[in-house]
């Protein structure tokens, strides 16, 4: 490659102009005398032509470069404007989604509440009505999950989902999450086992960790059959790695690379026809990532799935016993 230790600049043009003036004086001195002087005068004149030609080229190059810089600047400004407008539009859209989703929750909870109240007197209702209520509750529950996921997604996109980490006992959070879903698991004939020992301290946001564990447990319930089991335990090598392992149907190889990706929704129907939004796993991934940790998956089609939540390690000094 050509080496460029020297910059051709306006200064070069200005130096050349000064030297050129000096050369003209010399030519005038040389013109009158000997043959040799005349040759010299001719050579100096040619040098001036050379300088002028070179100056012109430099000037043209500089003008072209200046124009290019100007054009590029205008293009950059336009691009910046477009970017600002796009960002504003996205913000507005996210705000709208958050507002609408939030407002949808209130009537939905009312509907669910009335349906559950009606179920209290199930014996007085016909089988058909009971079945219809059950189906309506299922649909409401799915819709509630969808709204929750959209709300969380909107928080992530707006940078509102920032973890407030403290040293917490993962066993307590996991136990709380599992208790909420034991009933759901039992209903499908799935054995949900908590093997996390007490005092498994991790550095995490309590609320968000609960959200992730809940999400992964419900995901496992969704893809397990009657007789399957789900175990939640901490890794033997590292207690800050929580494993949620099931013996369910596993995940197909063709979608495994996209399960943590919002843009490529991979939601599939559960073993009993349960519907999902496809946002759950990407959301978990982002939450754990925002902790500075990682979420990984190992699966075998027909042989079950294990999710590994790795959180930043805590030190003994952090533990408030």
């Amino acid at each position: 490659m050509p080496r460029s230790y020297r910059n051709i600049s306006n200064e070069t043009i200005s130096n050349a102009t000064t030297v050129k003036d000096e050369l003209i004086e010399k030519i005038l001195e040389l013109r009158s005398s000997t043959y040799l002087s005349q040759i010299k005068a001719k050579l100096l004149t040619n040098t001036i032509f050379e300088i002028d030609h070179s100056k012109k080229q430099l000037f043209n190059t500089n003008t072209r470069l200046e124009q290019e810089i100007c054009d590029r600047k205008i293009a950059e400004e336009r691009l910046e404007d477009a970017l600002i407008k796009a960002e504003e539009a996205t913000k507005l859209k996210d705000k709208f989604v958050a507002l609408v989703s939030h407002d949808l929750k209130t009537p939905l909870h009312q509907i669910m509440g009335f349906l559950q109240l009606t179920q209290v007197n199930a014996e007085e209702l016909s089988d058909d009505t009971n079945e219809n209520i059950e189906e309506s509750l299922k649909a409401c529950s799915n819709m509630n999950d969808l709204i929750n996921d959209i709300l969380n997604l909107s928080r992530i996109k707006n940078g509102e989902l920032k973890p407030t980490c403290t040293t917490i006992d993962a066993a307590e959070i996991i136990s709380e999450a599992i208790d909420s879903y034991v009933k759901m698991a039992n209903k499908k004939g799935i054995n949900l086992i908590n093997e996390v020992p007490a005092h498994s301290y991790v550095y995490a946001d309590k609320k968000l960790l609960y959200e992730v564990v809940s999400n992964l447990v419900t995901n496992s319930i969704k893809f397990c059959n009657n007789g399957d089991s789900i175990r939640v335990f901490t890794s033997q090598d590292d207690i800050s790695t929580i494993v949620i392992s099931d013996t369910g149907i596993g995940i197909a190889e063709k979608i495994i690379d996209n399960i943590f990706c919002y843009e490529k929704k991979t939601s599939t129907t559960g073993t009993l026809g349960e519907q999902g939004t496809g946002f759950g796993l990407p959301l978990c991934y982002d939450i754990i990532k925002s902790h500075g940790g990682s979420l990984k998956v190992e699966t075998l089609l027909g042989g079950g799935t294990s999710f590994f939540i790795s959180l930043p390690q805590t030190t003994n000094e952090d533990i408030d016993l």
């Binding site: 050509p2 010399k26 050579l43 040098t47 050379e50």
Partner: protein, 246 residues
């Protein structure tokens, strides 16, 4: 086609620049170099009369002519120093010196030169620049003139060799040795150098030196590992009298 902009000066190192004249139709084009040392400039083999306007314009792009304090003349050929009289006029310095071997000075003084001659053989084959930088001269008798010299800059390990290591550009010329090297040096040396015994002596001397680059007055700049390749090639090359049969 050369990838370098030969219409303008070309940087060889931060301090050494090519300010020569290249025309595709000329197979034996001339390389003039300028060394810029702390504001002081040295020109090596300033070139011919027809090339003068282009060379001087390239010099002016880099320095003010009155920064030039020394003109080194490797030998007396018209393509090497035919323009000295007009170059010294443009530089216009009373203390301007022309460094050459005395055998060269005797011949070039017929160009009606006004500057002081610096006879390298009377000055221990050395010259010290204002910054304290020392340039060393190497006597290369009959390669291909009786007073031929090369100049060595120990700071950059650069050797300005005049006609030695010169080459004819038979196809596309490039600034740095590449295609056709080292064979492209063959025909030029065979035609212009007296004999292999002369050439071999010089090569054996160069071999003992630490050289990063060779800057000949014709042909291409030879750098790095190619330096030894060039020396090895010329050491064995039959030239001049070796090729003339009785």
């Amino acid at each position: 086609m050369t990838k370098y902009d030969t219409k303008n000066s070309i940087s060889i190192t931060r301090e050494i620049h090519w300010v020569g004249f290249y025309e595709k139709s000329t197979k034996l084009h001339c390389n003039t170099y300028i060394l810029i040392d702390d504001g002081e400039a040295v020109i090596f083999d300033s070139g011919s009369i027809p090339d003068f306007p282009v060379i001087m314009r390239k010099v002016i792009d880099l320095v003010n002519p009155n920064q030039i304090s020394l003109l080194v003349c490797s030998h007396q050929d018209p393509d090497v120093c035919g323009n000295l009289a007009i170059v010294e006029d443009v530089i216009d310095r009373e203390d301007l010196r022309i460094a050459a071997h005395i055998n060269t000075i005797r011949l070039i003084q017929h160009q009606d030169l006004k500057s002081q001659f610096y006879s390298v053989n009377n000055n221990d084959y050395k010259i010290t620049l204002k910054s304290g930088r020392v340039l060393e001269f190497i006597f290369l008798p009959f390669l291909h003139s009786p007073g031929a010299i090369a100049t060595y800059d120990p700071k950059t390990k650069s050797l300005f060799t005049g006609d030695v290591f010169g080459a004819i550009a038979d196809g596309d010329w490039d600034m740095f040795a590449g295609n056709g090297f080292p064979e492209n040096m063959g025909s030029f040396h065979q035609a212009y150098m007296p004999s292999n015994s002369h050439l071999k002596k010089a090569m054996e001397r160069f071999e003992k030196m630490s050289i990063d680059r060779i800057l000949p007055q014709h042909g291409t700049v030879i750098e790095g590992d190619k330096v030894q390749v060039a020396i090895d090639y010329l050491k064995l090359l039959p030239v001049g009298l070796d090729l003339i049969k009785d």
